[in-house]
């Protein structure tokens, strides 16, 4: 990092930042690259577990610029370095409360107060759980939401993936490299995943599919021993003895902290007006905390860019085009 890359000065103790960005996935870090280069003093409250969903992946093949693919965590490290190069301050703490009713806005992270003229909410989404008996107790003991992290522990074992979207099918394919038997348990009679992904799964002899089936309980003392399942089409139920359960039934937006201040839809996604604005002037939103359609690293980075540019316009700073 050289000084010539830095266009802004940090606020003194007790003064407000030009922008505080909450989150540290592709949306947040892209926003920070734009706001710092536009000379807005920028603080990223990135969360203890920083980097977002890409930290839980292996090779990312659909991010432009990396013809041979790139590891998700490596991509996030590069984005973070790029944001920090232009002077973004990165605090690896979770935001506990956000008072967006006063100006400057007040954010508390790890007990410390931060003031800001504008806020970009880019807190993303986290894994959705089944919320059935046994699930919570057995996380890390056979229950997982991250096949790329945990698949190698299921070498020569029997596992089930719950879900029917792209992420469920990807997890199942990852697991076939290790487990001897992989079941996909899906509550509908068809997948929501892309055609390419469906074909890969249907062609794989090691994957068996249970349609119209729901898991009602995960059973095990120190580790997963079996699951209880029922058909939602016929009135039948049964059990499956297995070693691992991978839950991939989608994501929920991380918007809890803002409830009461920021308008959310019935699913908890932040409502967007005029591209990146929320119901509060000066508070912008970017990424999967509002987008329930695209959910890609590249689209969320694009949303971050938009929010960064809109913050600069709001602060009356010029947007550099280089």
């Amino acid at each position: 990092m050289t000084d010539k890359d830095i266009f802004t000065i940090k606020p003194k103790e007790g003064e407000a930042w030009d922008v505080v960005i909450i989150g540290s996935g592709p949306a947040a870090l892209t926003a920070a690259i734009y706001t710092t280069r536009g000379a807005a003093s920028t603080l990223i409250l990135g969360g203890e577990s920083w980097g977002g969903q890409l930290m839980l992946t292996t090779t990312v093949d659909n991010f432009p610029g990396f013809p041979d693919g790139i590891q998700g965590p490596d991509l996030m490290n590069l984005m973070r370095k790029q944001a920090e190069r232009f002077g973004a301050e990165f605090v690896q703490k979770n935001v506990e409360t956000a008072d967006l009713g006063k100006k400057p806005f007040e954010l508390i992270a790890d007990g410390k107060k931060y003031l800001s003229r504008t806020v970009i909410i880019s807190t993303g989404a986290s894994d959705k759980w089944l919320a059935i008996p046994g699930e919570k107790e057995l996380v890390g003991r056979g229950v997982s939401t991250c096949a790329p992290c945990d698949a190698p522990f299921f070498k020569n074992k029997k596992v089930a993936v719950i879900g029917g979207g792209d992420s469920a099918l990807t997890e199942a394919l990852v697991l076939t490299k290790y487990a001897t038997e992989v079941f996909i348990i899906h509550r509908r009679d068809q997948f929501r995943a892309s055609a390419a992904m469906q074909q890969k799964v249907l062609d794989n002899k090691n994957i068996k599919i249970l349609w119209n089936t729901e898991v009602t309980e995960i059973v095990g003392k120190d580790k997963v021993e079996k699951i209880l399942i029922k058909s939602n089409k016929e009135n039948t139920s049964g059990e499956m003895v297995l070693d691992g359960v991978f839950v991939a039934i989608g994501h929920v937006p991380e918007s809890r902290v803002f409830k009461g201040h920021i308008e959310l839809d019935e699913k908890g996604y932040i409502k967007v007006n005029d591209h990146t604005k929320t119901n509060i002037e000066g508070v912008f939103v970017a990424g999967e905390v509002h987008d329930q359609h695209y959910k890609q690293a590249i689209t969320t980075a694009g949303f971050g860019c938009m929010a960064g540019m809109d913050v600069l316009r709001y602060l009356d700073k010029s947007v550099p085009s280089w």
Binding site: S49, T57, Q92, G140, R141, S144, P148, C149, P152, G244
Partner: protein
Amino acid sequence: MATLDVSDSEFEEKVLKSQIPVLVDFWAVWCGPCKMAEPVLNELSDEYKDKLVIMKLNVDENQGSTLKYQVMSIPTTILFKGSQEVGRQIGFAGKNAYEDLIKKGVN
């Protein structure tokens, strides 16, 4: 003091027979969250110098300990005191979560 490495063959000597509590981080090179945990564990290792040793066990190279302690998700960190497990943290949940775990064995 940075974190130290430990293997299956050294586990008893370095962890179970240690005079002070040992926090063992079960990790692997292919694990994204383990990379996030690494700098945090290094920091903690300095902050708890003389009170706690933090060791890293590579699960690919040391399947004996991995199986024995039923680690099925990484990172998993287990705190040992007087040869016994006194607590574990599954997944990377940040520095505060590690400190809560450490407090189970270190005053």
